[in-house]
Structures are given as structure tokens and as C-alpha cells.
């Protein structure tokens, strides 16, 4: 071709079409990314009794938080409860996901609703349900008493145990859904091959299905852990003083005692704890994951 085109060069399509991305991008930039800068700056402002924050800058909120015995206890408790919730959710979620993945009955979609619906029923409502169940006059205590098993009500509300049970229920779907996706993606002929080679069902599960579902387990575990250490409603309503977690403490700082810079530092610490835990978890599972395609 010797003929050259005249006129303005046409911009490539991915630039011409940027207007489609613009609204969402601006939305997230202005109301999601920039606000996170605010947490960081707020956590470094001096405290003040007359305004939201003082004039100067300081790192004292971090040093105070990380040396305060009470705050460290709360951090430890939050991580421990998060770990426990994650473990319980994995243990209860795996059988459900496995069953859903294998099931070909016409009830499957109904069961799917059973898994999904807790996710869509508000947190406050679900926590409220657990208050009814766990309170001193609640369903559990009433039942045990009428069976003659106890004379005095078991203290389940306002304890870490109650929070762990309720959070496990609340976040169970977050384990089931990624696992279900993973299990459904595994070629069913692979486990048939294991059986044909003489492996029992248990051995097939342990040696083939379980290792191949590690990515789903990993995704579910990370989701549940991050969600449960940052949960607010459930520990606030069910935890009392003994079950107080970082989120509850942070909201106290922000809303009740109006210590925004210190609260910002705590929030940053919570994000860091989550990040460290997830990184550690990824490192620990990296060896097992390396073999997977």
C-alpha cells in the first residue's frame, strides 16, 4: 500500500471506550481509595479534647495500643476467635459443599437456597436469632432445663463461645460457596480413576479430592478469617465484655469516647493483623498448593 491516510489518527479502542469505565473508576477513587488515605493520616494526628484531632503529628497511638495490656488481650482474643470460627466453618462447610457438588437430585436447588439464604438475611437478624437461642431464658437453656440436665442456666450469652457459635453460622456460606465452585470444577473421572485403581472411598477422598480442593479451602478460610476478625454486630450484641473484639473497641473509640486518632490507629492495626495472618496462611499452604495446576 502506497496510499497513506490523512486526517487525525484514530485512538485505539481501549482508550476511546474509557468513558465506560470512568463512572465506576471515579466512584471507587473518590469514595473508596482516597478514604483509606484518611485512616492512615487520622491515625497519625495528635489527640485533642476540643476538636476531632489536634494540630500536630504523632505515632503515639500505635505505641500506646501495642503496649497496652488490655488492647493486646483484645487483639489476641479477636485473632483466636477468628481462627476458631474459621476452623469450625471449614469443618462444617466441607461436608455441605461436597454433598451439593455430588448431588444430582431435584432438591439440589432448594438446598442451595438453604446455604445462600443466611448470607442474605441481615447480620442483625441472624445475631438476634442467636440471642434468642443462647440467652439465659433461651431455647438451649429451656430445653436443657426441661430435660432435667441443668438446674441453673448455662451462661452462653456475653461469652466468647456464644460469639464463635454465632459467627460460624453467619459465615458458613463463605466457606461453602468457593469450595462448591472448586469441587464442581474437579473432573469427576479423576476420582473414578482412583477407585478403579483400588483406592477405597476414604483414600480417594484423602489423596485425590481433598488435595484438589485446596484452593477452595484456602479461599474460604481467608474470607471467613478476615470477615470474622472484623465483624462488629455479632460480638457487640452477643459478646458482652468478655467477648469484646477489636471492632467493638474501635467503634467505642469512634462513637462513644470520640477518640478518632486512636481509633484510626486501632483500625490500621486490625488491617495489619488481617494482612499478616493471611500472608502467614498463604506461606504455610504454599507447599501444598505448588503441586496444583
Amino acid at each position: 500500500m502506497t496510499e497513506t491516510r490523512t486526517g487525525a489518527p484514530v485512538a485505539p479502542q481501549h482508550l476511546r471506550m474509557l468513558w465506560m469505565l470512568a463512572p465506576a473508576f471515579v466512584l471507587l477513587l473518590l469514595f473508596f481509595i482516597l478514604p483509606y488515605v484518611s485512616i492512615a493520616t487520622m491515625s497519625l494526628r495528635e489527640a485533642s479534647t476540643r476538636a476531632v484531632h489536634g494540630e500536630g503529628w504523632t505515632v503515639s497511638h500505635y505505641t500506646t495500643a501495642l503496649t497496652d495490656a488490655y488492647i493486646l488481650t483484645v487483639i489476641g482474643r479477636t485473632v483466636l476467635m477468628g481462627g476458631l470460627v474459621t476452623l469450625l466453618a471449614l469443618l462444617l462447610g466441607y461436608p455441605v459443599a461436597y454433598h451439593l457438588a455430588m448431588s444430582r437430585s431435584r432438591w439440589t436447588s432448594l438446598l442451595y437456597v438453604c446455604v445462600l439464604s443466611p448470607l442474605l438475611v441481615g447480620l442483625v437478624v441472624r445475631t438476634f436469632a442467636w440471642m434468642i437461642i443462647l440467652s439465659n431464658n433461651g431455647v438451649v437453656n429451656q430445653t436443657l432445663r426441661s430435660l432435667g440436665l441443668i438446674d441453673f442456666p448455662l451462661q452462653l450469652m456475653n461469652t466468647p463461645a456464644g460469639v464463635v457459635i454465632a459467627l460460624t453460622h453467619v459465615f458458613l456460606p463463605f466457606v461453602v460457596l468457593p469450595l462448591l465452585g472448586n469441587l464442581q470444577a474437579i473432573n469427576p473421572e479423576v476420582s473414578m480413576a482412583a477407585r478403579s485403581l483400588g483406592a477405597s472411598r476414604l483414600r480417594t477422598f484423602l489423596k485425590v479430592t481433598l488435595p484438589l480442593s485446596l484452593p477452595g479451602l484456602q479461599a474460604g478460610a481467608i474470607l471467613v478469617f478476615v470477615l470474622s476478625i472484623s465483624a462488629y454486630v455479632t460480638p457487640a450484641l452477643l459478646g458482652g465484655v468478655r467477648g469484646r473484639t477489636m471492632s467493638v473497641l474501635i467503634v467505642q473509640y469512634l462513637v462513644d469516647t470520640f477518640r478518632w486518632p486512636a481509633g484510626a490507629a486501632l483500625a490500621t492495626i486490625m488491617a495489619a493483623v488481617a494482612l499478616i495472618a493471611v500472608t502467614l496462611f498463604l506461606l504455610l499452604t504454599a507447599r501444598a498448593m505448588r503441586r496444583l495446576p
Binding site: A193, R195, A199, R291
Partner: protein, 358 residues
Amino acid sequence: MTSLALDRLNKHFGTQHILRDVSIAMAQGEFVSLLGPSGCGKTTTLRCIAGFEQPSSGRILFGDRDVTAALPEKRDIGMVFQSYALFPHMTVAENLDFGLVARKVPPDERRRRREAVLGMVRLQGFEGRYPRELSGGQQQRVALARALVIEPSVLLLDEPLANLDATLRDEMRFFIRELQQRVGITAIYVTHDQAEAMVMSDRIVVMRAGAIAQVGTPRMIYERPASLDVAAFIGRSNTLEARVEAVAGGGGLYVVRAGPSALRAAGPVGLAPGSAVRLLLRPEAVRVDPPDAAPAGGGNHILARIAASVYQGAAIQLVLETPEGARLIADVNGRRAVAPGQTVALGFAPADAWLLPA
């Protein structure tokens, strides 16, 4: 000696009748293909043999062992899957060891058998590779090795070549057949590809709508099909409507009338004179002679006009029309020119024609 027998297997699924009285007996070392269109029940039959499906009634015997109710892992089968089903998180060596570990074979024995079988499938030195690092053909051979290394009593193959490209498929057909004969193992091969079944099998079981339509050697299935369905499924064929005039001696030779011509043709024993039949003629069994030539010794002639001629390289495909309006296809030698519009005599030997009740 019977190595594997299916005895009147039936399978119902809801109101559907998926298998109807499927009975097959296989000799030790025999290669049998289950051939048929999708949904004919061939895969269900294989899964019943493997133990992944339970027949509603009937028995499955391995030698004299009744395995009908046995779990898959207790059956001592080697199975090759359409998707290969290699364990993606294990190396080739670990894939091969899987069945041996389940059988508690000691490590050095495992190693010896692994090396022997990898030699057989020409994959020495691939022990440390993961399945994703292998080509399709190599994965296929690992799948085969994994099924053979446990020295099973039966080898089951479920369309193992369906995911390979055409050249590799041709190569693997002979490879699998040769390996099976070398090991001397009884093999059942499920396929919908008739050419594959033809070149690989000792015997072919043609299935249709859950029932066995015919069992026989490839030659029998091709030349002496039991029904028009089988004939239509295996290769191309011409059919002419005809009527039996007389039985021409024993051994299933008949004289039939098709239009103006009296023809001699082979057929199953017991066709009654006067009954309506279809005369089956494979396109490659037809010879084109000049219209005035006399048929070669004992042969038949039908007059037909050439309607079209298609050059195909090795052969020329002729579309012919008889004066009665029947259309026939003939593959003739590519070097001879034949012009459309010409009338010719179609010649064929009585043994190349096959009669079936209409």
C-alpha cells in the same frame, strides 16, 4: 476360557430402560469393542463392569468370580478414561504408584514395575513430570501405563482417543492394540468411531437403544450385518428393493429379482421364496463394465445411467440411476474416465451382496 461375562444385564433409570438384556462372553486376551451412537448404552455397560453403576438385574462375572455387587476398588480393573483422568497434583511416577500403593506393593517392586511399564509406553525419563507438562498423546500413554501397571484382570477403555487429533489417533490405535496383545490382557473398548473399532477389535458389539444389535468379527459386521440399522451405522451401503425368487443351493445363496434383473446374492439361511428383501451392496464392491459386456463368471449385472461423477483422487465416486429410479453409489478406480449420461453395467459378485428381510 471365559475371562469376563455379562449375563442379561438390565438397567432402569426412572421410567427409562437404559440396558436391555445385555449379554457378552469374552475369552482371555480378547479385544472387544462396544460400538454405537451416543445414548446406545455402551458407556453405561462399561460403567457397570467397572462398578460405577449398579445394574438393575443381571450378573457380571470376572472368570468365575461374581463381581456384580463388588465395589469398584475391589474388582481389579484397569480403566482408561476419555479425559485421561490423571491426578493433576501428582507426578507421572506418583500416578503410576497410586494403584500399587493401594495394593501394598513394596517400594522396590513398585519401582521395577513402573520402569517396565514406562518402557512399554515409551516414556522412560518422564517420572518426575506433572501431567500438565505432557502433551495430549503422552498423557494418554501415562493413563494407559497407570491402568496396566497394576496388572488388572480386565482393561476398560472409555473412548480414550476421542480427545486426540486425527494423526495421533491413527498412531495410538495401533499402539494400544499392539500393547494389549503383548500383555495378553482382556480389553473392552467403548467407541462411537466405527473405523477405530474395525482396526482394533477381535470382535465388535454393536449396540443400539440399550440392546445388542450384533456381535461379530469386524469382517462379519461389515459384510454380513444382522440388520439394516447395523449396515447403516457401519460404513456406507446401497440398498435395492428385491424379492426372493428361489434358493440357489445351500449355504444361504439366493436368486432375487430387482426390477427387470434377476440377481444372485448371499443372505442369511431361511429366507422364504416370495418374501420381500433388501439387497445390500457396498460401494467399493461394485464394478463398472461396458453395457454390452457379459457378467464375469457367476456375477451379476444391473444397467444404470451415470448421473454424476465426483473425482476424489484415489477413486471416482459415481452416482448412478437405474431405469426403475433407484440411486446407487459406486467407488471406481480413479484412472478411468467415465462421462455422466453414459449407460453402464454395474457388476458385482454374489458373495459381495447381502440380503436382509425388508
